[in-house]
């Protein structure tokens, strides 16, 4: 800032000389920053490029060094083998079904509760909200055994219900996020609607849901991510192949594909398919991942 100020005063030859060296210093500083940032970016992306590359290689190609990043020739056979070794399509459909239903449940319940906590008056509101926030501290490790016992008692083992139904009850975190978002919606809109005799449900659905859509989308994206990437839940609740999700299916694929070099291409082909939906979702809805999470961190 001060350098810029000085450079705006033309009648100071000596400081002009200083200024060029300062600018040089700034320039090299910036260049080295970029070098560092690019290096880390490569480290972040390279493993995924490697995954793609390996998934298209034969066993002899895998062990070659220096490696061919672009396999020559391509060996798409790994994907064929993948589908013959494991019901990958079923895994993906199961994951998609669980994730989508969970998203619907989570959005509905969290949005309604977030609206009530943000805009409705009822006795014990602050106390209940405080308790809600405090439960975020309870580790999932503590609740997992009794939750399993509940679902076993209900006869829901080896069904998708234990992975979907709890989301219809919302979560403290998402209720918190939506409450914060709904608090910033102008009260005038609510007053106007109430003057016209609109009920709370009408106000929620017609004002808060559309105006709070960015945060609701973030909640949806986070839930999709959580459901799709979940390992622990499917691991304890699902035991037949036809019910399994991608993440748990992949751990089984490893057992079936064998342990040699020839299995690597198949396992990476499967992993690639497991990551792909998230990558697609991320590339289209990047701002919802980033904006939502950033806000969540700031206010927490």
């Amino acid at each position: 800032m001060s350098e810029q100020l000085v450079s705006k005063i033309p009648s100071m030859p000596r400081s002009g000389a200083q200024n060029t060296s300062a600018r040089m210093k700034k320039y090299t500083g910036r260049a080295s920053t970029h070098v560092l940032l690019i290096l880390v970016a490569v480290m972040m992306i390279f493993p995924l490029v490697w995954m793609l590359s390996v998934s298209l290689k034969t066993a002899p190609q895998q062990v070659k060094w220096p490696p061919q990043l672009i396999p020559n020739p391509f060996y798409p056979q790994n994907f064929v083998l993948l589908f013959s070794l494991s019901p990958m399509a079923t895994y993906m459909l199961n994951s998609a079904k669980i994730a989508i239903l969970s998203v619907i449940g989570m959005c509905l319940s969290s949005s309604l509760a977030g609206f009530a906590f943000a805009r409705m008056r009822f006795r014990g509101r602050n106390l209940i909200f405080g308790i809600l926030l405090a439960t975020m501290m309870i580790p999932y490790a503590t609740t997992v055994i009794p939750t399993f016992v509940i679902f076993r008692w209900l006869g829901w083992i080896n069904t998708h219900a234990p992975l979907i139904v709890p989301n219809f009850f919302g979560s403290a975190y998402t209720v918190f996020l939506l409450r914060q978002a709904y608090m910033s919606i102008p009260q005038d809109l609510v007053d106007a609607a109430e003057m016209d005799g609109a009920g709370f449900f009408y106000v929620w659905w017609n004002i808060f849901v559309p105006l709070g859509m960015p945060m609701l989308t973030t909640v949806a994206v986070l839930q999709f991510l959580g459901s799709w990437n979940d390992l622990f839940g499917p691991l304890i609740y699902l035991n037949s192949q036809m019910k399994m999700t991608v993440q748990i299916g992949l751990t089984f694929l490893r057992g079936r594909a064998g342990t040699g070099v020839e299995s690597v291409g198949i396992i990476m082909a499967g992993s690639l398919l497991g990551i792909l939906p998230m990558l697609l979702l991320y590339s289209f809805g990047q701002k919802y991942f980033i904006r939502g999470l950033a806000r969540a961190g700031l206010k927490g």
């Binding site: 800032m1 920053t33 560092l36 940032l37 972040m44 992306i45 493993p47 490697w50 390996v54 062990v63 060094w65 490696p67 609206f115 009530a116 906590f117 008056r121 009822f122 006795r123 509101r125 809600l132 439960t135 501290m137 309870i138 580790p139 490790a141 503590t142 609740t143 997992v144 055994i145 009794p146 939750t147 509940i150 709890p166 219809f168 009850f169 919302g170 403290a172 929620w204 990437n229 390992l231 622990f232 691991l235 304890i236 748990i248 992949l250 690597v264 990476m268 499967g270 992993s271 690639l272 497991g274 990551i275 998230m278 990558l279 979702l281 991320y282 991942f289 999470l293 950033a294 961190g297």
Partner: protein
């Protein structure tokens, strides 16, 4: 007048009832999936229970077993603490450095941020399988690169010294984008005026970092510390997929230990005791964090 008052209280009653209807899912959810399981975990931890026969009260025996007879539990706790400390502090340090670099007015900063975030959204199982390939002692990338400079690389995941470090490295890679994102959001919340005032007083870049950025960013750092400790203490997916806790239990973590006891060998009581210990450890750590935070967290 009395009429209007009556209708007003009627409206208030309706508002109250509707609010309770709206928050009933989350309230039920907290009761069924948080409170009840926590209490039930506590109760079951004093019992011997294999799910098939009714629980048998054995007092403190599970705890006594964990802390005296059990050869693995102490080791498991040490492993988990090592993992948590390393990933949280390395993550915070690296995250802060890169967030500060990205917070400058440099070209492509949103692209960098988007790239760094990719590992965060990638499913842990697929990513862990990928890193297994990268770490492969024979055809993995790391040993391939080391061979080029004449070093015979270790069997990363099959070696008691390197397995934990390898897992920690992967975890830092996977989580860095999130830490950077949250720090960046925190940095953007710091008013530019502070820096301008400091410049007038002749502060250099390092002084600005230590006397403005660090204190004003401390609530964000605190948030990341608390959530980081809670999350990393319950790590499961990465070691479960990459090493299964081996070699020689060198990467066995506390939630994996719980999983094995509860869902593999059906020692529910013992597993519930582990769950309750995790609960107590996390509550204590969080409480300590809040206590210590009074000394270093600065709220504007």
């Amino acid at each position: 007048m009395p009429d209007k008052k009556a209708s007003l209280t009627g409206m208030r009653r309706r508002e109250e009832l509707t609010a309770w209807l709206f928050i009933s899912p989350i309230v039920l959810g907290i009761l069924i999936f948080q409170f009840y399981p926590t209490l039930f975990s506590f109760y079951i931890s004093f019992n011997q229970w294999n799910l098939l026969s009714p629980p048998k009260w054995i007092g403190l025996n599970n705890y006594v077993e964990l802390f005296t007879i059990d050869r693995f539990f102490k080791n498991t706790m040490i492993n988990t603490a090592t993992y948590a400390l390393a990933t949280v502090f390395a993550g915070l340090a690296l995250g802060l450095i890169f967030a500060v670099l990205l917070n400058q007015d440099i070209r492509g900063k949103y692209l960098y941020r988007a790239i760094y975030f990719v590992p965060v959204i990638a499913p842990t199982v697929a990513v862990a399988l990928l890193w297994q390939v990268l770490y492969d002692p024979n055809f993995g990338v790391f040993n391939g690169l080391l061979r080029m400079v004449g070093i015979h690389g270790p069997n990363w995941l099959g070696n008691t010294t390197w397995a934990m470090r390898s897992i920690i490295f992967e975890a830092i890679w996977a989580g860095l984008g999130f830490t950077i994102l949250i720090f960046l959001a925190g940095l953007q919340g710091i008013s530019q005026e502070y820096y301008e005032a400091a410049e007038i007083d002749g502060a250099n870049a390092l002084q600005k970092f230590f006397f403005i950025t660090m204190p004003l960013l401390s609530p964000t750092t605190f948030f990341l510390l608390v959530t980081g400790v809670i999350g990393s203490f319950q790590v499961f997916d990465i070691p479960f997929v990459m090493t299964g806790g081996g070699p020689a239990n060198s990467t066995q973590m506390v939630v994996m230990y719980l999983y094995n006891n509860a869902f593999v060998i059906q020692k529910m009581g013992l597993a519930a005791a582990v769950a309750f210990i995790v609960f107590v450890v996390i509550i204590i750590l969080t409480f300590l964090n809040f206590r210590i935070s009074k000394r270093w967290v600065f709220y504007e």
